[in-house]
Amino acid sequence: MRYEFRIDGDISETLAKGFPELEHVVMAGQTVLYGQVLDEAHVYGLLARFQALGLRLAEMRRLPE
């Protein structure tokens, strides 16, 4: 499964490295993190990590394969 997560604000390179499994791109005051996730548990794990790092999730969606 491929997912993308939109985070409010531009995240630093350092913080982006906290998600080595995802690519990221910064655009218009948002950071898009995207990539392959293993399963549902992985998705929830990522959400918890966003929360733990004080990131605000604006949007998430599953990408067509």
Partner: protein
């Protein structure tokens, strides 16, 4: 014998958590509020308002200021406050409730009188929770329980249990949940019924006025427009405003810095934290990065990670500035969870490869200072398995893999062990995991390897490791039914016992409890009952604690089994019931006492002819989560099942399969032979019964008695009498044995025509059996006994009310009051196969004609069978016959 003496006198230390970790106080203490904390009256009021409802949920994002808000409010309450910071380990219900109980006790010594600590991490029974709730409900004034970081408790069952306790504690408990995410409680229901107050993210957000005050506290006075901009940019997020204040303080021109920040687009926390971090002196930055791998820390531990000596002052300063560091109890600190998370990301980025090294150092420091649980967690996270396994083994904590609240957690931790980790300790831990899974073959092979390595390395320098080996040897011996090996293991343990520091032995009462339990089980297998008692009694005598709960219960169950096997059913029953009660008090599910104890209760029920109860008890053991896996329980279970089938009249199914073990067990063989022989006798096959008893140990009273019975049935009365005359004089045999001796003597006397002697002996048997309600020996005795009971008023009187129904019905009562249950004949003669077939069709409401057609016999033959069925069941009509047959489980 050191092991034995010490087992009884071990004291369980108070003030340690159930798993022995000394971090209890830090997890259960209110965080102190720093000087720059701003009390926001509107939120304090909201919390005060909430005092009237049972549940308050403070729900907001990381860094929203939840913890300090509630800590500040709770400190000024004037009510007992129990504070608990949740932990990942709390995913296990037993651990969660153990800590919660401890938190309540810390708040108010009288909060939960009489509620025991759960014995297992994985399960907590309703009963324990109910007792906890009742204890709270009985309070005169409420206790306020704060669960901080409740989002770490992810198990739905814990949320459900918490709801149960909250509901039943009534006004005695006020629960405050502090969490980042919606708890799994039925929030909508609480909302609808107005039983819950909520403070959510929007409420926690700083207003412009509050932000202005907070900045003032940080020594910044700024124009309103700047403050408004800051609140807009951060969304009023506490951590953002605080970090901003700190970053601005580091600049010569705070105002323009804040303006720039307002116009920026980076994510707030990440950006600001980097700003603030970079504004710190380099050694302070290094300290913050390095402590991010720790949950909690003291200055000495921090020094071990920074390789400096100034941690104490640095931590105090950081706490004063309240950027990152929270002050807990005494000299313990922790990082703010949000900042810890971000700092860890920075650590990996800025100091690649340092993290495992830091964790290794932390593990060693924690181990030296006696914090084993945290040392193991750090060592495992560092992938330093030789050290981690070594710490477990050298701390004498190998037994914690088998008993106590950490068993599950530790097994999980070491399940991730790198297969390449070599050395005695990793191998020992692997052996322990194998054995706990009852994989004896692999476990023993690994154990031998570990022992070889130890001896080669000079094991005398590692007495704790040798004790660990002895423990696993004893367990393997128990599982394989090798009594000699168990004795040898305990002798080895005694040899090194004195070499181990006394405080380690004191800290691990489970070690001797486990050793002696395994030894007792092996001795029991060998049929050495007195020796088994000697090993098991001290285990039961040691003070109850979570660490030793499981071996204690097992020992109690096995002592019950010894009583039962020596004929003392009532004593056995009391011990087994005590074990079941204790298991329940320790939060194990009701009816899940030790397996041996439950099998004893089933066996006693068979002896009392309470067959349904026996069956229920056996059914409950069938879906055990983990089998005890030792031959003692396996063999005894087979025996009880055999006896039950026999009692049900299933003479074909009453066989007891042998249980494989290193050495045979005399009692297991004896009881298997007895069941087989009794099944043959029930069908009148005396010769086969005698054959079955041929190889059974003749020196055992029960076998001799059964042989004599078979000889009498075979018409070899002289041989039977000869055997009865010379019955082995066993010491201290209980009623289950003596009653059967009296009955076979009576049977012999009856056969010889000496009715007076027969009556006297039956009377003696009745007297002996009455107190314990032993009905089975009379039901098995055979048809000769019925006329005796019927025709002798004295015997009738002795049997009335427990063996036979009250006068007039001439029938047998069973466990239920006679009113509830139709009287049954005293001894139901066995139905023949044909009679059974007729009876089954009768129950299906077939007419005599239809039965005859169905069985391809004449109607007259069916009528003959029916007459004989009625006679045997002691009834006169169809419907009665069917009812009675159902009662007797013939259908």
């Amino acid at each position: 014998m050191a092991v034995r003496e010490d087992a009884g006198s071990r004291r369980v230390r108070t003030g340690t958590d159930p798993s022995g970790a000394p971090f209890l106080r830090a997890r259960l203490s209110l965080p102190t509020v720093p000087a720059t904390f701003l009390r926001r009256q509107r939120l304090v009021h909201a919390l005060d308002e909430a005092s009237t409802v049972p549940l308050t949920v403070v729900n907001g994002s990381a860094g929203a200021g939840k913890t300090l808000l509630v800590a500040d409010w709770a400190a000024g309450l004037g009510l007992p406050v129990a504070w608990m910071t949740c932990d990942a380990a709390d995913r296990a219900p037993g651990m969660f409730w153990a800590y919660l109980r401890e938190a309540l006790r810390g708040a108010d010594g009288t909060a939960v009188p009489g509620v025991r600590c759960p014995a297992e991490a994985g399960r907590v029974d309703r009963g324990l929770l109910a007792r906890l709730a009742i204890a709270l409900a009985d309070r005169e004034r409420p206790v306020v329980l704060v669960l901080d970081e409740f989002d770490r408790v992810t198990a739905p069952e814990i949320a459900e249990q918490l709801g149960f306790v909250l509901h039943n504690a009534g006004p005695g408990l006020r629960l405050v949940l502090v969490t980042r995410s919606e708890p799994l409680l039925p929030m909508h229901r609480y909302r609808a019924s107005g039983e819950m107050a909520e403070i959510r993210n929007a409420d926690l957000a700083f207003t412009e006025a509050e932000a202005g005050e907070l900045l003032t506290l940080h020594g910044l006075s700024l124009p309103g427009s700047t403050v408004d901009g800051l609140v807009r940019r951060t969304g009023g997020w506490a951590a953002g405003i605080r970090l901003c204040a700190l970053a601005a303080r580091q600049r010569p021109d705070a105002e323009s810095y804040l303006k720039e920040f307002e116009a920026g687009r980076s994510t707030v926390a990440d950006f600001l934290l980097a700003e603030v971090l970079d504004g710190q002196p380099p050694e302070r930055q290094e300290l913050l990065l390095r402590v991010s791998v720790l949950d909690r820390f003291r200055p000495e531990l921090v020094n071990a990670l920074t390789l400096r000596t100034d941690a104490e002052a640095a931590l105090a300063a950081l706490h004063r500035e309240n950027a990152f560091v929270q002050h807990l109890d005494h000299s313990w600190y922790s990082l703010h969870p949000l900042f810890a998370e971000i700092l860890r990301v920075h650590l990996r980025e800025r100091r690649p490869g340092l993290e495992p090294e830091l964790r290794r150092r932390a593990a060693r420091w924690l181990h030296r200072s006696g914090a084993l649980a945290e040392a193991l967690a750090q060592g495992a996270a560092a992938g330093d398995w030789e050290f981690t396994a070594g710490a477990l083994v050298d701390d004498l904590a190998l037994g914690q893999l088998f008993t106590g609240l950490r068993a599950q957690h530790l097994s999980g931790l070491f399940a991730g062990m790198d297969p390449r980790a070599a050395g005695a300790a990793p191998e020992l831990v692997r052996a322990a995991l194998d054995l706990s899974r009852r994989d004896v073959a692999h476990g023993l092979a690994r154990l031998r390897r570990a022992e070889g390595t130890l001896l080669a390395d000079g094991g005398d320098r590692r007495p704790a490791a040798l004790l660990g080996c002895a423990l696993l040897e004893a367990l393997a011996a128990r599982l394989t039914g090798s009594p000699d090996a168990a004795e040898q293991a305990v002798r080895t343990a005694e040899e090194v016992w004195r070499e181990v520091p006394a405080q380690l032995l004191d800290a691990h009462p489970e070690l001797s409890a486990l050793l002696l339990t395994h030894l007792g089980s092996a001795r029991l297998w060998a049929g050495r009952f007195d020796a088994a008692r000697a090993a098991l009694t001290p285990v039961v005598a040691c003070p109850p604690s979570a660490a030793t709960a499981l071996p204690r219960l097992e020992a109690l169950g096995m002592l019950a089994l010894v009583d039962h096997l020596t004929g003392w059913n009532d004593r056995a029953r009391h011990k087994a019931l005590a074990a079941a009660g204790e298991a329940e008090r320790q939060g194990l599910p009701a009816g899940s006492g030790p397996l041996a104890g439950r099998l004893v209760l089933a066996a006693v029920s068979v002896e009392r002819d309470e067959l349904d109860r026996a069956e229920d008890l056996l059914d409950a053991t069938a879906d055990e989560p983990a089998p005890a896996g030792d031959p003692v329980t396996a063999a005894f279970e087979a025996v009880v099942r055999g006896r039950l089938r026999l009692a049900r009249g299933d003479v074909h199914g009453a066989r007891v399969p042998a249980v494989p073990a290193a050495v045979p067990s005399p009692w297991a063989e004896e009881h298997a032979a007895l069941v087989t022989a009794a099944a043959h006798l029930a069908r009148g096959r005396a010769d086969q019964a005698l054959t079955a008893l041929q190889d059974a140990p003749r020196d055992r009273t029960a076998c001799a008695v059964e042989t004599a019975r078979a000889l009498l049935v075979a018409g070899r009365a002289d041989e039977a009498r000869e055997l009865i005359e010379h019955l082995p004089r066993a010491e201290r045999q209980g009623p289950a044995v003596t009653v059967r001796i009296a009955l076979v003597r009576a049977q012999a006397a009856h056969r010889a025509g000496d009715t007076g002697a027969a009556r006297r002996l039956v009377a003696q048997a009745l007297l002996d059996a009455r107190r314990e309600q032993l009905r089975r020996p009379f039901l098995e005795a055979g048809p000769w006994i019925r006329p005796l009971l019927r025709n002798s008023p004295r015997l009738h009187g002795l049997a009335e009310g427990w063996l036979t129904a009250p006068a007039g019905t001439g029938a047998r009562a069973v466990s239920r009051p006679a009113a509830e249950r139709p009287p049954a004949p005293l001894v139901a003669e066995r139905l023949s196969g044909r009679e059974r077939e007729v009876l089954e069709r009768l129950a299906r409401m077939l007419s005599t004609q239809e039965i005859a057609e169905d069985l391809h016999v004449s109607v007259n033959t069916v009528k003959t069978h029916l007459k004989s069925v009625y006679r045997k069941l002691g009834v006169g009509r169809r419907a009665e016959a069917v009812r009675r047959a159902r009662d007797l489980r013939l259908l």
